[in-house]
Symmetry: C2
Subunit: 250 residues, 2 copies
DNA sequence: CGAGTGCTTGAATCCGGTCAATATGGGTGG
DNA sequence: CCACCCATATTGACCGGATTCAAGCACTCG
């Protein structure tokens, strides 16, 4: 039986990320939404846009952090390398999320701890570190919003540390799939569709296991009717049962 | 052979945490150090102090977050519980570090994700959530400093996720001991002394393993001459070799 | 000095990793 | 449009590190 792929290639026109559109995008960001139109126009002029192809590196771990990035269109994966060659997937970010920034005062010593790679075609707004810090220093509300965002990211990391330390691989995988379906999936009549390259290796690198084990457990989930998967997509058919396996206990 | 304990009971006089001393403490905090004396006096009056006994709970996971805490004297451990009864040690905080705060706007929905317990006798400065947010909103430099601190805490959590996912228990334990020796240990002629209650269970709950395994590996480290341990203390005799085992690769 | 808590050590078990062989599906070029 | 090719996914068998269960030890405090 031939599996029907629900994947559709979304082509991104360069125009959709043009100057006039940028103001709208900036205005929609959680950390700029409270600013008036005037300040936002000034901010807008500090940003420049940049396109990335799927698989293209945005910045490398270990390199100096000089700019601050905001995703306008597309998805970006953040990962750390280890000396033994393993990768750890830190996160996959979508439109409206930021990356690469650093608040550390000392400009000379600050390096990216992670690598950022475009997962899909991306349009990314970029701003120099100093300009960016100026904005946050001038608008307290912006800085406060960033504190909120960092706090929620910290909580996510804390639950991940907890899961790694105490939960079985099955639970961790259920957790991972649940989280990404929740964050980046699109509801369809069949379930929540994760329609971007999200391989068994990615799954494993986020859950702290191997691709083989990830594959095995995904197969189990499929047998139980929780999931349907194809090459570059995955549909979560029963979100509730999946979160039950993950035992999300906030 | 009877092991000589280098532990000395430090008794904390209540007076050492009195009003006049408080200004000094606040001024020494990384996030207030840039403020002038005048603003600091105003801030000081918003803080109240509170003493805690060893083992006493400062706040419980799940409870609403209403205040912001700064450690003046003593050490505090932060931990998460799991439904299965396991604990995960998130961190041990010392003087000058903060805990319990939340920057989330929506006051009604914000709860502590972790539990805070006094590890030693503590003197802790406490401030209401709203007063605290006012300070950060008024002084951009304060907010920026907090962004810096959150950033460094996030990095620590990221490396922990990475270690959990890819490193052996031996490496994780070496990492844990190294980090706490570095952060809270006191250099002596014999090595770095960790002189607060830091049990095998604590070690395990931070490293993501069991007390038994922690004990086994600590024994190995002792045989190798890296450590000396007693009931409530631990001396790291060879920090370099320990960090080599941990393979700290920043 | 006895009780209790935390530490140590042993032996058995098991989950998950490793290595390896096979299958599958999507993209590509003839 | 079809056949081939390659990357990814799947599945199996084996192995080993770490947990679990359990027993004995040691330090501290009442």
């Amino acid at each position: 039986m031939r599996q029907e792929s629900p994947l559709k290639k979304e082509s991104i026109s360069v125009e959709s990320c043009s100057y006039d559109h940028r103001l709208n995008i900036l205005h929609g960001l959680p950390f700029y939404s409270m600013l008036d139109h005037h300040s936002l126009q000034a901010i807008n002029s500090s940003y420049s846009e940049h396109g990335y192809q799927p698989g293209e590196t945005i910045y490398l771990s270990g390199k100096k952090s000089t700019r601050f990035y905001v995703i306008a269109i597309g998805k970006v994966k953040l990962l750390e390398h280890t000396s033994s060659g393993h990768n750890v997937l830190l996160d996959i970010l979508g439109p409206g999320e930021f990356l690469g920034g650093s608040w550390t005062e000392d400009q000379t010593t600050h390096f990216h701890s992670e690598t950022a790679i475009a997962l899909t075609q991306c349009c990314i707004l970029e701003i120099d570190r100093s300009d960016f810090k100026d904005i946050a220093s001038k608008h307290a509300a912006v800085a406060m919003k960033f504190l909120e965002i960092l706090e929620s990211r910290m909580r996510m990391l804390q639950t991940r540390v907890k899961m790694q330390a105490t939960a079985s691989v099955e639970r961790r995988l259920a957790f991972t799939i649940y989280k990404f379906a929740d964050k980046l999936g699109k509801p369809t009549k069949n379930g929540v569709l994760i329609q971007f390259p999200f391989s068994r290796a990615d799954l494993a690198e986020f859950s702290g296991t191997t691709p083989e084990t990830a594959s095995r457990i995904v197969s189990q989930f499929k047998k139980k009717g929780l999931l349907e998967t194809g090459r570059q997509w995955m549909t979560v058919k029963d979100v509730l049962r999946l979160s039950a396996i993950a035992e999300i206990d906030e």
